[in-house]
């Protein structure tokens, strides 16, 4: 204290002395005392010190040339056991330890993998409360007294890094992303950081996604991303899900998005040929500003899939294998033998020749009847009898096995990756399933500082086999379906001599009931599709400078499809007398070639301006060739498909087509102060699908984003870590029509010929399509407004988007008056609108050392409206061909002013009750004259028959009483995913739902009141109406009325599904090290675990109508399996 008092006194005296003195001293091994004196002299500063310090001093060697005072002193005191302090104009010498808390300023910069600065990173001194955040340039600064402290760098989505200071004061850190794809987003012809996005682009959480034990990625996509609706048609192995982004954009044409797989745009990607485990990222472009870069193919959204490449570092071998079991969870309960026989007896009640009684209850016949058998069965004999239920034999618990093996690694110059997959999926229906063998090799090589080349090769072969339950596009007889026979097969025959299980045909089936023993038929039918696909990408990247890069890509996508079918004499088709043993064999080759050339220019100038410009030119051609033949009357059925060539009748076919697309594209991103962001893009596509003159289309877009959280006034709000507003508008196109629809086609076809003079028919030509040279692109204008909000350091991240999509000039396969000689032609006509709201919420609910819980909730609302159709048309009515008896009535209608594909039919009005009738003298019920019919003649209608609302009040039910009876499209869909982790355990739980869509349960038309004889019915039919059971809403036997669709069989198709559950345990890194491996996870995953729904059919996620116009139709679909697997993922 005394000392300081003195110093202060002295200091005030020398206040005028200059701190900017220039010191010039050059000494070697001089005493510090001597040097200090010289400094004192040159600087006019006073120096205070104790002599004891000087005793311990080390000799000083300095060479100061116009040095500052401080610098001079630093040099002198460097390495001395004491230090100095300048207090005013006085230099005080003091011991180093004498100051207890002297904060050291630590500074540094945090960057990401691409060396871009990372703002908002939390930097914390471990074990203290000292915390700082990085600024926009990624810079941080904090003070700590402990030069040996450890800094903890953490940022949501990035791996937390701990860096010991080791007395360093400048710490630069590169943070790697924990989940890589959440931050770098592929946007087509380039990628950006998520924070730089201006459009609506969703990324799939690939870590969660990879936990679903599925064959192809689309099966795991449902519920993951807002705005993306995924609905499977049914559960057939290998069936491709129907993915729709932001509502259907097209009326008659395909609505699936454009797939861009490792840069290769494909309109008809074969999802089964991509191993989900190979996928590095899935980014989904939704708004027009994002998709416009894909121009004429962007209107239905774009799914960008990037596969894994090599990573710098030691080679990592990863093995992932699982084995699981699948089961049909929704068997239908059928009538038991007693109830079945009861129905049969009711069907023939009162008939003179009571065939049902003769067959099933001969003991109940009058004794005079020749078929009377006193020892035969009565109805009571069937009580508690065990009946045959073919569901027992037709379904099975099926195994699924999947193995992935990969080797990935790299050096500074070379990155490589080799991976393979083998999958064997048994279907839950006997003799059905899928097998896949797949391999991928990627290589990226830096040739020199400027040139980089690489390749990505994928080969896969997938085989799907087994009877197709509902063949798409096939003209269909309901009785041909296996499920029809499985459900409908008689539980009892009434005869002891007949073992139904051994018979291909039940002898009671005659006429147009083609019911066949499905178990025998399924075991004998061959339906095999083998798809072999080769995708080869090669690229070269040349950096002209740091800013300008050229990338040239050449790619081939080849797909060979081999389809085999064979029906031996133990199948439904092969036992048919016309064709007998028959089969077919078709080969299709698809070849897609792609060349892309892009120039990318990136620069930052005046610190605040960043620009990223891409310009490119691409060419793509596609062609397919198909050949094959079908054969009938095959003599040697044991040879199978290979013996088809021996057949008497062989019908050969061949065909092919091609198209080409040439495009110019450009996109510019401009960022000002990371706060205001502008994107504009344009693509010009020339397509051979249009007539010369109409080939080129232009698709511009623009987007603006304001990162409000970068504004100082928001930055002050600590709670807000991110606030971004986005606006975009753009035009995209759709070109999904045939390759030559602008040309008139003259067909030269077998079936169009004629036989003269009993000769073999000559072929004939006829116009099969009238070309429309005026065809041009269908254009979708989409406006999108979005907001991204991040709170509490991104612990809560909310994204909300609203959009309006208007598709005009629709490429519609428009109905034509038949006077033209054809039924339809492509026209640019019609208009449709989709409006929607998407909300996606990510939260980190609990984040502690051991326990973590994070959630993703997303919900999408889409409202579809048909704005106009073809000339003078205000409605498009369509029927699903599922049964000949229903070919005369429509099941769906799409009306102007209404959503697409509404369900269409009669309004069900319960059943006729006794009070609707007058009882005649003979005791028969006669329908009161003021009560409308149900389409049958009045005399036929009895109590317990189905009743409909007579909308036009004409007393009769006809198709004029049809109205809209349900919605085909859901009101909202979404998903709720939760991740829990506790120490080494992790749990992912995904719920997925669809709300508001209705389904036509056509199964009930056949299995809840069909008049077909000896056809078993759903167990619900036991509760049908009767005088004793007048509250029932199920019509009596024979009371279902004429064939009509009605609200009786329309059901709410809403559901919530526990879609995926995955539970795993990761062994500790230390233990792994002991085992000599890097990591090991043991897990169990389940798919389609539980479904909550009011739908009475097997599964609410179903649509066997196969078009936008006929949604939500269920008949005899392949049931969806519940899968539970156990697996192991190990890295070496």
């Amino acid at each position: 204290m005394k000392l300081i008092a003195i110093i202060l006194t002295v200091a005030s005296l020398h206040a005028s002395a200059s701190a900017f003195s220039q010191i010039n001293i050059a000494v070697k091994n001089s005493s510090i005392e001597k040097v200090l004196k010289e400094i004192k002299k040159q600087s006019s500063y006073s120096i205070f010190y104790d002599a004891e310090y000087m005793a311990a001093a080390k000799p000083v060697s300095v060479n100061l040339n116009n040095a500052s005072l401080e610098e001079s002193l630093k040099q002198c005191f460097s390495g001395q056991p004491f230090t100095f302090q300048i207090i005013a104009n006085t230099i005080v010498i003091k011991p180093i330890a004498s100051s207890s808390v002297i904060d050291v300023v630590i500074t540094g910069k945090v960057v990401d993998d691409t060396n871009a600065p990372l703002p908002g990173v939390t930097v914390k001194v471990k074990g203290s409360t000292i915390t700082a955040f990085t600024n926009n340039e990624g810079l941080f600064s904090l003070k700590t007294a402990n030069a040996d402290a450890t800094l903890v760098f953490s940022f949501l989505g990035y791996t937390t890094q701990e860096v010991p200071l080791n007395k360093r004061k400048v710490i630069n850190v590169k943070l790697t992303e924990a989940v890589h794809n959440l931050q770098v987003v592929e946007i087509g012809y380039g990628s950006v950081n998520r924070k730089d996005l201006t459009g609506a682009v969703a990324s799939v959480n690939i870590v969660d996604f990879a936990k679903a034990p599925v064959t192809s990625f689309d099966e795991a996509l449902a519920g993951r991303v807002a705005g993306v609706t995924v609905a499977g048609s049914d559960g057939q192995p290998g069936a491709v899900s129907n993915i729709v982004i932001r509502g259907p954009g097209s009326i008659t044409q395909d609505n699936s998005p454009l797939y861009v797989i490792d840069g290769f745009p494909l309109e008809d990607a074969d999802n089964n040929n991509i191993n989900p485990n190979d996928i590095e990222s899935i980014d989904i472009l939704k708004d027009a500003s994002s998709t416009a870069i894909y121009g004429s193919r962007g209107a239905n959204g774009v799914i960008i899939i990037t596969t894994k490449k090599g990573k710098k570092g030691d080679p990592v071998i990863n093995f992932n294998g699982y084995y699981g079991l699948q089961k049909n969870t929704n068997r239908m309960k059928m009538l038991d033998p007693y109830e079945f026989v009861k129905v049969q007896l009711e069907q023939t009640a009162g008939q003179t020749l009571n065939t049902s009684m003769i067959t099933y209850t001969p003991a109940e016949l009058p004794e005079t009847d020749p078929a009377y058998d006193p020892n035969g069965n009565t109805l009571e004999s069937y009580r508690n009898m065990k009946g045959l239920d073919l569901q027992d034999q037709y379904f099975r618990t099926a195994a699924v096995q999947n193995y992935d093996l990969s080797l990935r690694g790299g050096t500074d110059k070379t990155l490589y990756s080799i991976s393979g997959n083998m999958r064997n999926l048994e279907g839950i229906i006997i003799n059905s399933g899928l097998k896949r063998y797949q391999g991928r090799v990627t290589l990226d090589q830096n040739v020199n500082a400027k040139l980089k080349v690489g390749t990505n090769l994928n080969y896969s072969q997938s085989q799907t086999f087994g009877t197709i339950q509902i063949p798409e596009g096939g003209s269909f007889n309901s009785t041909l379906s296996h499920m029809y026979a499985v459900w409908g097969y008689r539980p009892v025959t009434g005869s002891v001599d007949l073992n139904l299980q051994d018979e291909l045909f039940d002898p009671v089936t005659t006429g147009d009931d083609y019911r066949v023993n499905p178990v025998i038929s399924a075991k004998n039918e061959i339906r095999k599709t083998i798809i072999s696909g080769l995708i080869a990408n090669v690229y070269g990247e040349y950096a002209f400078s740091k800013n300008l890069k050229l990338r040239v890509t050449g790619a081939v996508n080849n797909r060979f499809t081999n389809y085999e079918s064979f029906n031996n004499s133990l199948t439904s088709s092969g036992s048919n007398t016309t064709r007998r043993v028959n089969g077919s064999l078709y080969n299709t080759t698809n070849t897609n070639l792609l060349n892309e050339n892009t120039l990318t220019y990136k620069t930052t100038f005046n610190k605040n301006h960043r620009i990223n410009v891409v310009a490119g030119y691409t060419l793509q051609t596609s062609n397919w060739q198909r050949s094959g033949f079908s054969a009938s009357l095959v003599p040697n059925q044991e040879l199978g498909v290979d013996g088809l060539d021996e057949a008497e009748t062989q019908i050969g076919s061949s065909g092919g087509s091609s198209y080409g697309l040439a495009s110019y594209l450009g996109r510019a991103n401009y960022y000002f102060k990371n706060r205001y962001m502008f994107t504009t893009s344009i693509r010009s596509d020339g397509s051979s699908k249009f007539a010369p003159g109409n080939q080129w289309g232009y698709f511009p877009s623009g987007a603006f984003a304001w990162v409000a959280s970068e504004e100082p006034f928001i930055k002050k709000l600590n709670a807000v870590s991110n606030l971004k507003l986005r606006l975009s508008y753009g035009l995209t196109g759709n070109n999904r029509i045939g390759d030559f629809d602008y040309l008139t086609r003259l067909g030269f076809i077998n079936a169009g010929g004629y036989s003269y003079n009993n000769s073999t028919p000559g072929k004939g030509t006829s116009i099969t399509g009238i070309g429309n040279p005026l065809l041009e692109w269908e254009t979708t204008a989409q406006a999108d407004a979005g907001i991204d909000i991040g709170l509490f350091k991104e612990r809560i991240a909310l994204s909300v988007d609203v959009y309006e999509k208007v598709t005009d000039n629709l490429l519609l396969n428009a109905d034509l008056p038949l006077t033209t000689g054809i039924s339809s032609a492509y026209k640019n006509i019609g208009k449709m609108q989709n409006r929607g709201l998407e909300i996606s919420l990510n939260t980190v609910n609990i984040n502690t050392k051991d326990f973590n819980w994070s959630s993703n909730f997303n919900i999408s609302f889409n409202q579809n409206e048909v704005l106009s159709l073809a000339e003078n048309q205000n409605a498009l009515a369509r029927r699903v061909r599922f049964d000949d008896g229903f070919n005369g009535v429509y099941s769906h209608i799409s009306m102007v002013g209404q959503p697409l594909g509404q369900l269409f039919g009669l309004v069900w009005d319960g059943l006729y009750q006794v009070e609707d009738f007058e009882v005649s003298g003979t005791g028969t019920y006669v329908l009161k004259s003021n009560i409308p019919t149900n389409g049958n003649t009045r005399a036929v209608i009895q109590p317990g028959h189905v009743k409909y609302k007579d909308l036009n009040d004409d007393g009769n039910i006809t198709t004029s009483d049809y109205t809209i009876i349900g919605r085909g499209l859901p009101i909202h869909t979404g998903g709720f995913s939760n991740n829990f982790s506790y120490k080494g355990f992790d749990l992912n739980v995904l719920f997925q739902w669809s709300y508001g869509n209705d389904l036509i349960n056509a199964n009930r038309l056949i299995f809840e009141g069909s008049s077909r004889r000896s056809l078993n019915q759903f167990a619900t039919y036991a509760d049908r109406w009767s005088i004793e059971n007048q509250d029932s809403v199920i019509p009596v036997v024979g009371g279902a009325g004429p064939n009509n669709y009605s609200s009786r069989i329309v059901e709410d198709g809403s559901y919530v599904r526990l879609k995926t559950v995955s539970f795993g345990y990761n062994i500790s890194p230390a233990f792994a090290k002991q085992l000599g491996i890097t990591s090991l996870r043991i897990y169990s995953s389940a798919q389609n675990l539980i479904t909550w729904t009011n739908y009475s059919g097997p599964d609410p996620e179903v649509s066997v109508g196969f078009s936008n116009l006929t949604q939500g139709f269920d008949y005899a679909a392949y049931p969806r399996a519940r899968t539970i697997t156990f697996g192991l993922n190990v890295s070496l």
Binding site: K450, L451, T510, Y542, V552, T577, T578, R580, S632, Q650, I651, G655, G656, S657, S658, G660, A662, G686, S687, S688, Q695, D739, T744, L746, F748, A751, G752, G753, Y754, S755, Y756, N757, N758, G762, G764, T765, I767, I770, N772, L774, D815, L816, P817, L818, T819, T820, G821, I822, S823, K827, A870, E871, N872, Q873, G885, F886, N887, G888, N936, T958
Partner: protein
């Protein structure tokens, strides 16, 4: 060194790539279809014209026309033929006149006819393109013109006023075309067919040797039919009777045609895939049994319209239509006062047309007699005569569109109308048809009746009566059986089993076996049995024609149109409805006739076209 060269070469490569790119852009967009032809580049040779013509013919054999619907659905529900099963409303209900403007079958029918028109239009637009012999060109042109006319004839007679299109469809956007008044549509039909007739002068039936192509007689015969239709309702252009008579006369005078002496052989030949160019002037060709490369099979005659049989070696037939009792009864019987279940007739057509047996449901066909006419299947087309096996659900039997007997009856009808009463030629024409029906050329005079004079005595089971018919100059003797009473031992009746052939005079009959012979007399038939009662007035002759056409041409698709043009459709169908209700028919048999009202004179214009062609209007009542 190496690096430098890469750099240099790379720049070069980039330049090359850019050059390649700009040139290949054009190439990428220049694709040519490889899987179909373009009409502009086609029809350049005679052969290509023929392929085009095959396409025009092809429409005849499609489902909405003669493969199925024409005979099975559109024309099977009249007073001569009816369904035997109640078809549910969703299925074939349209066949019961339960169609509406939006029924898919109605638009399919309309569409098929217009596709025929459109194919002909496309061909005719290019007819002068190839360098070829004019003679061959004229024949192709003649056939195409005729077929276009025929399709328009079916359109006009079924739908009334229709859009008249005679050029290929050029645009898919400009498709609204108004209906042309019926008389103008007919004028075009006459124009096309008349021109065809002059172009096909050399294409005679004899020269063709088969009936699958349009011959000169085909055109003339169908022109007669068209003119009769025009002369009748709704056009009532009675001047056309003259033309009808003239066209029919041309066929008769051509000496190309004659009646097959055996009525049943006309249809047996069809089953055997043989031609009878004399009688069966024009047929839609069908081929195979559905197992071949191209399905050119027929589903109606033989199968749907056949004798019930599930045995494919005999010939599968689901036999969905039956004859009506009033058709069965329209054939004159020998003894109208007879109370027999089936009264004998000399008209051979009855028991051929009305199948008095069935093959049944057994896997091996079993001949089972049928005695109730309502339960008789249509027997006209019998698959047991087919030669192509297996006889599956479809067959190669041709469908006859014009027979010589039809021409004769048309001639007679037109002559009667023109002359205010039947002419001798009219009589002759009708009698030719009838004499053939009675087998006059086939069998000559036959045993008509055997009348028992005395029953004799002493006939027992051990001593049954033996009937012998002899003499009379027959080439084949008739046979008969005698029925006797076990209690009295006397013969009570003699039944003719076969009627013998070519009796010059009445034969003698002896009935031996008992203690005393029974005696009987035989009466043989004569020409008059078949012949039409002479000296009928116009109206009676017309009434006779009305029934005779049905007896001769039943199920061949003529009845509905005949009734419509005669203005009798609604009344005759109502008459039939009453008859069926009161004469033991099932409700299925009168379901269709109960639906007939004035509006059924035309079918509805399909709603598909009504919405898409804003100039189109609907027929009254629909």
């Amino acid at each position: 060194m190496f690096k430098i060269s890469i750099m240099k070469n790379l720049n070069l490569l980039i330049i090359i790539a850019l050059v390649l790119v700009s040139t290949s852009c054009k190439k990428v967009l220049e694709t040519k279809p490889s899987d179909f032809l373009s009409p502009e580049n086609y029809y350049k040779t005679a052969e290509e014209l023929q392929f085009g013509l095959n396409g025009v013919y092809d429409v005849l054999g499609t489902k909405p026309l003669y493969k199925t619907d024409m005979l099975y659905a559109w024309n099977s529900q009249t007073d001569e033929e009816t369904f035997n099963l109640w078809l549910s409303s969703g299925g074939l209900a349209y066949s019961f006149y339960e169609y509406t403007a939006s029924s898919p079958e109605i638009s399919a029918f309309w569409g098929a006819l217009y596709s025929g028109v459109s194919r002909a239009n496309t061909l005719l637009a290019s007819i002068d393109k190839p360098d070829m012999s004019e003679e061959k060109r004229n024949i192709i042109k003649g056939e195409a013109l005729f077929l276009r006319g025929y399709y328009y004839f079916l359109l006009a007679s079924n739908f009334g006023d229709v859009p008249l299109i005679t050029t290929p469809t050029a645009s898919v956007t400009d498709v609204s075309i108004a209906r042309t008044p019926l008389k103008d549509v007919y004028a075009q039909i006459l124009k096309d067919m008349t021109e065809a007739e002059s172009l096909l002068q050399t294409q005679t039936s004899t020269k063709l040797g088969h009936s699958g192509k349009v011959s000169k007689s085909t055109v003339q015969g169908i022109l007669a039919r068209v003119c009769l239709q025009m002369a009748g309702a709704p056009l009532l252009d009675i001047a056309k009777y003259k033309d009808a008579k003239a066209w029919a006369y041309k066929v008769i005078a051509s000496q190309e045609h004659a009646l097959n002496p055996d009525y049943s052989d006309v249809f047996i030949k069809l089953a055997k895939d043989q031609y009878d160019v004399k009688e069966s002037i024009w047929e839609v060709e069908f081929w195979g049994n559905g197992t071949e490369i191209t399905d050119e099979t027929n589903q109606s005659t033989g199968n749907f319209i056949g004798i019930y049989c599930l045995d494919e070696s005999k010939g599968y037939s689901s036999a969905r239509v039956n004859v009506t009792k009033n058709l069965f009864n329209s054939y004159e019987v020998i003894d109208p006062s007879s109370t027999a279940t089936i009264r004998p007739t000399l008209d051979l057509r009855r028991d051929w047309n009305c199948a008095n047996y069935t093959w049944g449901t057994a896997t091996t066909a079993k001949h089972t007699p049928v005695t109730n006419p309502w339960l008789m299947n249509v027997g006209k087309w019998r698959r047991e005569y087919e030669t192509v096996t297996p006889k599956t659900k479809t067959n190669g039997m041709n469908v006859t569109l014009l027979r010589y007997s039809d021409v004769l009856l048309m001639y007679a009808e037109a002559a009667n109308e023109l002359n205010g009463g039947p002419t001798d030629s009219a009589y002759n024409a009708v009698n030719m048809v009838r004499q053939r029906a009675y087998g006059k050329t086939l069998n000559g005079n036959v045993v008509k009746t055997i009348t028992l004079i005395s029953g004799g005595a002493g006939f027992t089971a051990a001593r049954p009566p033996v009937v012998t018919i002899a003499g009379g100059g027959a080439t084949e003797q008739a046979t008969a059986t005698a029925v006797f009473s076990a209690t009295t031992g006397r013969v009570t009746a003699v039944n003719v089993v076969t009627r013998g052939r070519f009796y010059q005079s009445a034969p003698t009959i002896t009935i031996t076996g008992g203690t005393t012979n029974a005696t009987a007399t035989v009466i043989t038939s004569s020409l008059n049995d078949a012949d039409l009662q002479p000296a009928l007035n116009k109206s009676d002759f017309f009434d006779f024609i009305v029934n005779e056409r049905s007896r001769e041409l039943c199920f061949e698709g003529q009845r509905r149109m005949d009734l419509i043009r005669w203005g009798l459709f609604v009344t005759k169908m109502q008459e039939y409805n009453n008859y069926a209700r009161n004469n033991g028919a099932s409700s299925t048999a009168y379901r269709a006739s109960g639906n007939i009202t004035e509006r059924n004179k035309f079918m509805p214009i399909p709603s598909n076209d009504l919405t898409l062609n804003r100039l189109l209007t609907q027929n009254p009542g629909w």
